[in-house]
């Protein structure tokens, strides 16, 4: 494990305090999950787990069922079979509200920002669950409601600083360039202070520079906050660089699971995925 981590940090070149990184117990496990849409089997009998503190990649060709898997994990899709265990609690289906309040947050493959709102409001919305003052206090915008608003604003400003998006704080997100929108979406997910962060192709459509930045953000969050990350990514370079373990899906089935090295050497993966180069 250690060696793998060292190698990873070398590749990312960010020089984090990697020694602190601890990979712990299982945080989430998916057991024998199947999901079908009418006749289409999006996921067939897939099991894997995600350990506390690791960066877990989910890869596979287009239509392999990766996004569907994230949707199952945070309760947007309800699987036909199988179970999801998060923080020791086993459920046959997840519910979005439970997933969110238990500490799962995510970003989306095709941006799902609140387009009419500013960067600041988008990220502040990520703290909706943490804000407890009732309507009447909010109507006054005073006393406890105001101090709550300020407290969360401070937390959000830290995220804004971390992601280097101070200059677009008040800009409506709908008109921002794609790369920045992706960053705001990460900020919104981070605002929930998740234990498990699900990232659906966070670097899709980015240039090399932007990909480097994004990798750095993900690694820093993982290192410094200890946030567990599940990451879908097509760029094999990035996957091999930053992930601890990789699960490979193809046509809704799991065909491999292991460290980047193991997966890279797996003949089925080479045939199915690496063969048709991306």
């Amino acid at each position: 494990m250690k060696a793998d981590v060292q190698e990873r940090s070398g590749a990312a070149g960010a020089g984090h305090a990697v020694a602190d990184r601890v990979i712990g117990d299982v945080l989430l496990s998916v057991e024998n999950v199947s999901l079908a849409f009418g006749g289409v089997k999006a996921i067939s009998d897939v099991s894997f787990d995600i350990r506390k503190g690791e960066i877990r990649a989910i890869i596979g060709p287009n239509g392999a069922g990766k996004t569907s898997m994230l949707n199952v994990i945070n309760g947007f899709y309800h699987p036909n079979q199988g179970a999801i265990t998060f923080k020791g609690r086993k459920r046959s289906i997840m519910r979005p509200y439970i997933a969110a309040s238990q500490g799962i947050s995510r970003t989306f493959q095709n941006l799902a920002l609140f387009k009419g709102m500013s960067t600041l409001d988008n990220i502040m919305a990520g703290r909706a669950l943490k804000m407890r003052r009732g309507l009447l206090w909010q109507a006054l915008h005073w006393g406890p409601a105001l101090s709550e608003e300020i407290k969360h604003r401070e937390a959000v400003e830290k995220i804004i600083d971390f992601l280097e998006i101070q200059h677009i704080r008040k800009a409506p997100v709908g008109k921002l360039p794609y790369g920045l929108q992706k960053r705001v979406e990460l900020g919104r997910a981070l605002a929930m202070e998740p234990d498990l962060l699900l990232l659906d192709e966070p670097m899709a459509g980015m240039n090399l520079e932007e990909k480097k930045d994004m990798s750095r953000y993900i690694l820093t969050v993982n290192d410094q906050l200890g946030t567990t990350v599940a990451l879908i990514e097509h760029d094999m370079g990035v996957v091999m660089d930053i992930s601890d373990r990789v699960v490979v899906l193809e046509y809704g089935r799991k065909i491999a699971d292991g460290t980047p090295d193991e997966v890279q050497r797996d003949q089925r993966v080479i045939d199915a995925y690496l063969g048709i180069s991306h």
């Binding site: 979005p96 799902a112 009419g116 909010q138 105001l146 929930m192």
Partner: protein, 375 residues
């Protein structure tokens, strides 16, 4: 004085979160409020232009304030939470008739269980607020379908509410205290022993209501609940996956919106009309409010005022300007022109600038802030 924020450094998040973070805006607002609360009463007192007669107060300022209040309510639901409603007129009616019933005494005979509910007539202020509350409760009930249906289907459901309540207030005589003509009179406007009677007093009463509710609305939309409403509007799936509960967000928008619209309805009946018939709150009123919100700016409190002003003033302008230019046009032509201009404007705004006048205003301010530099 240049319109600049240079040199105005915000030293706290509280200052940055203020309604008008730029000093010039704050000064402008204070001047406007001073003029509304002190200037206009003074002009009216000394009978100076344009308040030489009651016309300006009775026919323009009072309806403007009340409709602006209703538009704020509609904007919360439609503009901020993205739930289309064609039933605002009905919610004004619910506010008006509930306030009327509370103001004249509620009596519900329950003979079949050998009892009755009797509430003595309440003073005007609690009546109006209870009118808002009833409207909020009905708003929540009619908001339920929004959890399942969206867009056009929701519009049809709210339209059904409109027709249902038109029918109820026309046919269920209990609401009109069995008045043979169906027309009812508002109780005396007595507030804490003070009788509000003259046009300027009525104006000030409306102004107080509008100022308070505009502030409350602004506070809500810039806080946590406002962000939840907008999140549901912009991307409901992402909002739900972030733990925002659509049930709570949508129904709270229906409740707050209907409350404000209901209070506006009660004011419309008690303060503006004085005596009224169910026709006062028909589908025309719903559409008028919707147009105000679209033209003024969806998702903007300021826009609610701009839209109300525009819709009210347009027919007057179209009537008087040709007159002044010496080309008198008939009343029919004027109302036709109003339709054409409003319709064209709405089409234009929906396609080109969905945030209405309020956005054009903020673009203009942005330009002014940078002037004379292009960026």
């Amino acid at each position: 004085m240049l319109y600049r924020e240079a040199g105005q450094f915000k030293t706290s998040y509280a200052a940055d979160m203020a309604i008008f973070p730029i000093r010039q805006d704050r000064i402008a607002l204070i001047i406007l409020l001073l003029f509304a609360f002190i200037g206009i009463p003074l002009l009216a007192h000394f009978q100076l232009w344009p308040l030489g007669s009651d016309y300006m107060l009775r026919a323009i300022l009072i309806p403007f304030l009340i409709l602006a209040l209703a538009a704020i309510g509609v904007n919360i639901l439609v503009g901020y939470c993205g739930q289309i409603s064609l039933g605002s007129g009905a919610f004004m009616a619910i506010g008006a008739y509930s306030a009327y019933k509370f103001g004249t005494g509620v009596h519900i005979p329950l003979e079949f269980i050998g009892t009755e509910i009797k509430i003595a007539p309440l003073p005007v202020l609690p009546s109006i607020l209870l009118g808002g509350l009833m409207s909020a409760i009905v708003g929540i009930l009619f908001g339920m379908p929004s959890l399942r249906i969206k867009g056009l289907y929701l519009a049809v459901a709210t339209l059904a509410a409109q027709f249902f309540f038109d029918w109820v207030f026309l046919r269920v005589k209990w609401f009109t205290n069995y008045a043979p003509s169906g027309s009812v009179n508002a109780p005396e406007l007595s507030f804490f022993g003070y009788l509000v009677h003259s046009p300027i007093e009525r104006y000030l009463l409306c102004l107080i209501f509008v100022t308070l509710f505009a502030l409350i609305a602004k506070n809500l939309v810039r806080g946590n609940i406002g962000r939840q409403w907008m999140a549901i509007r912009d991307m409901d799936i992402a909002a739900e996956l972030m733990g925002i509960r659509p049930l709570y967000a949508k129904l709270s928008a229906f409740a707050v919106s209907s409350f404000i619209v209901g209070v506006a309805g009660a004011l419309w009946a008690f303060v503006y009309l004085g005596s009224w018939e169910p026709l006062a709150f028909s589908i025309d009123r719903s559409l008028q409010l919707l147009f105000m919100v679209i033209i003024g700016g969806l998702g903007s409190i300021l826009g609610s005022f701009l839209g109300a002003a525009f819709i009210l003033i347009l027919p007057i302008l179209l009537d008087q300007v040709p007159h002044a230019l010496g080309v008198p046009i008939s009343v029919e032509t004027v109302s036709l022109l109003v339709f054409i201009v409003t319709g064209a404007l709405i089409c234009y705004l929906l396609i080109v600038e969905p945030h209405g006048f309020a956005r054009l205003w903020s673009i203009a301010k942005e330009k002014l802030r940078l002037w004379p530099f292009p960026y």
